[in-house]
Symmetry: C2
Subunit: 418 residues, 2 copies
């Protein structure tokens, strides 16, 4: 079978399974999630053996240490995968929920019913836990899914796929509801992106290069996440304690996440006092600061920032910094250099907070809180399949609701249009 024929057959299978999944009861979906968790625990040694094969091949190919770390499945990570599925089972079922059912002057009742999107294609890189996480969210939201993981994790992903298939079977749901692509041939991704007849939406998870390629080639809608160039702006009316605490947390709590602060903007009235305390803390944490001329006069450890620095998502212990005159200049900076991901203001002034919330065009906008909160779990979505920096369909952390749509329902008693 050619790659094209293989991917077509996966697509057709997914489309058929999607119909069954849309009609699956909450009980059956939850039973499948619990059964997959059980299979993961029971077959742990098989999964670890498959993962060891992947790790050995990756070491042979001299993959970088962070990639090896993401590829590795430890007992704790396997337990987290199983536990995550049980947590998704415990979330309310979004499908079938009817809202806004109101009488119209004509006498009909009009409302909306939440429905699955259909078939979700997910393309991701090394971490094999995404296979279980994504499958769980798609099962709960009544979608079928085609999963394409990284070639370096192929054995781990196939071992996890066997557990998912077992769980679906136990619950009487179609095995094709979750299909993990079995080939490492790179042509499979290209074929997947052309299956607009079978795949309703593509969600890429991975580096910027992967996401840009997918956005360009996909013939169906894409829920995507590009850069996270996140700002904290310390306003003229900020509380200095909160400013120092929030900026330090937003930068240092984790360096490699998309909601880590990459640029600190300081109102000139606050710059000296904040830098006097924050500078030594960041120095001790080993964070390099690249700033403008005014900031460098205040703190000698700051090196010179180029214009390109302000556009950069470092994902590392490096940050940019700029002293601004106040709120307007901060808003202009964020509009020009930001990536519409997550931006925060630190202020005690209600008018400034209100303007910042309304005017910053980002998927998450915060007042007096660390940008690190931009996460589906922290927001109470219960789970997260990714973060969208698009405006269309879903924006910000995407949970179960982002995998659904709403149709209109109309209930009458013989009503006709006059």
């Amino acid at each position: 079978m050619t790659i094209r024929d293989y991917m077509q057959s996966l697509g057709r299978g997914a489309r058929d399974a999607a119909r069954a999944m849309a009609r699956a009861t909450t009980g059956a979906k939850n039973a499948a999630l619990a059964a997959v968790a059980e299979h993961l625990r029971v077959r742990r040694e098989t999964i670890f053996a498959a993962n060891a094969t992947d790790l050995a091949a990756a070491r042979e190919q001299q993959l970088a240490a962070p990639l090896l770390d993401r590829l590795e499945l430890t007992p704790a990570r396997l337990e987290a995968m199983a536990d995550g599925l049980q947590q998704v089972a415990a979330l309310p079922d979004p499908i079938g929920a009817v809202t806004d059912l109101n009488y119209r002057p004509t006498g009909i009742q009009v409302g909306r019913m939440r429905v699955p999107l259909g078939v979700v294609g997910i393309i991701y890189e090394s971490r094999p836990n995404v296979t279980a996480d994504a499958a769980g969210l798609c099962i709960k939201s009544g979608n079928a899914t085609v999963l394409r993981g990284g070639s370096e994790a192929i054995n781990s992903n196939q071992a996890i796929a066997a557990c998912i298939a077992g769980g679906l079977q136990d619950a009487g749901l179609p095995g094709a509801a979750v299909q993990v692509v079995e080939t490492t041939d790179r042509a499979a991704v290209g074929e997947l992106l052309t299956l607009s007849e079978y795949i309703d939406v593509i969600i890429p998870r991975g580096g910027k290069g992967l996401i840009e390629r997918i956005s360009k080639e996909a013939r169906m809608p894409v829920i995507k996440h590009l850069d996270g160039v996140c700002h904290v702006y310390v306003d003229t009316h900020a509380d200095a304690d909160k400013a120092v605490t929030i900026a330090y947390n937003a930068k240092t709590q984790r360096y490699g996440t998309c909601c880590t602060m990459e640029c600190l903007l300081l109102a000139e009235a606050q710059a000296e006092a904040v830098l006097a305390r924050l500078g030594p803390m960041l120095a001790e944490a080993g964070v390099e600061i690249r700033g403008d001329a005014r900031s460098r006069q205040l703190l000698p450890q700051i090196t010179a920032a180029t214009d390109a620095d302000y556009y950069t998502e470092y994902l590392a212990p490096i940050m940019s910094l700029r002293v601004v005159s106040g709120l307007d200049e901060a808003l202009q900076h964020i509009e020009r250099y930001g990536s519409k991901h997550t931006d925060a203001i630190v202020t005690e002034n209600l008018a400034h907070a209100r303007r910042f919330l309304a005017e910053v065009d980002s998927s998450s906008v915060m007042v007096n809180a660390s940008t690190r909160f931009a996460d589906g779990y922290e927001y109470g979505l219960g789970a997260e399949i990714g973060i969208s920096t698009d405006k269309f369909h879903a924006r910000g952390p995407v949970g179960l609701e982002g995998l659904t749509s709403q149709k209109f329902i109309v209930i009458g008693d013989g009503h006709i249009r006059e």
Copy 2:
């Protein structure tokens, strides 16, 4: 200036104006809508003169009578345009609305704020009233818009565009918030579809050919509406009076709309009784019925339907008909031949109503009501920019809300992530 340069300049202007529109107050937006309505009324003679020029050219090119009808602006149609703008002004402003603002265990408050999409591109055919309708919805929803009407309506559209520009100016809003493409060069559409940097979403309104071309070429998301092959299924447990009334209304109330019934499915237990009454009514209305062998045994006026008939959106006094064994066969027929637009069941049986609502995968699903209700005004959306048969972002009639998105807002008091 080349067409490419011209369209680029429109795009840049729209992007700048979108920022101002996102921040425009409800008062300013409503003032602009009222002022545009006033300009339309004051400049009516200029608009009629421009429309007469378009009509003369169209007659010279021997355009078909329905196209000429759609192109013509009568005093009543002009008044309806102005009145429509005032109705949109009276709707609640969706922008800035905060919902679901809840405390999380960490102490932060997380909610969602409704925001504009940004720049909306609208491509439409002959009816010049779309220019004012679309501009009104985009202004109210805080978006900028680039409008590309049919070349046969160019003079009418430019006259209306002058009124819109006047209204925006009166309200202190940027003129580039609504830009009507001034050239009839067909290359302008192609250029518009590549402006993904400036245009956030495209809404095509017109025939199937136009919509298919745009879906294929657009580099940005498209809110689109393809066929409306709408069904009425008369269930085994239907009330025959309601069945006859609804089927007759769904077919004959207007033939040319996307929510007109194109296929009637009759449960075999009902077929004879329903056809005995409905057949003569449809015959009197001049509706041709194309049916399967069983229906033809019941009513001699029915001609033989081909398989292709069941896929056809007639938009004319023609309909297809099939006798089915019951609910399951009806659901299978709709799944195979339907276009996921609007489908209705007539039944007194709650279990069948419940299954039909849950299982039919269409943008509107109805019980005991005419498919002709599938309309933004009938649904209480206050206005309609189109109907979406996609599942992504918006489904069914699209009003102001479909032109918006939601961002997350987080409010803390110095909160950091542990």
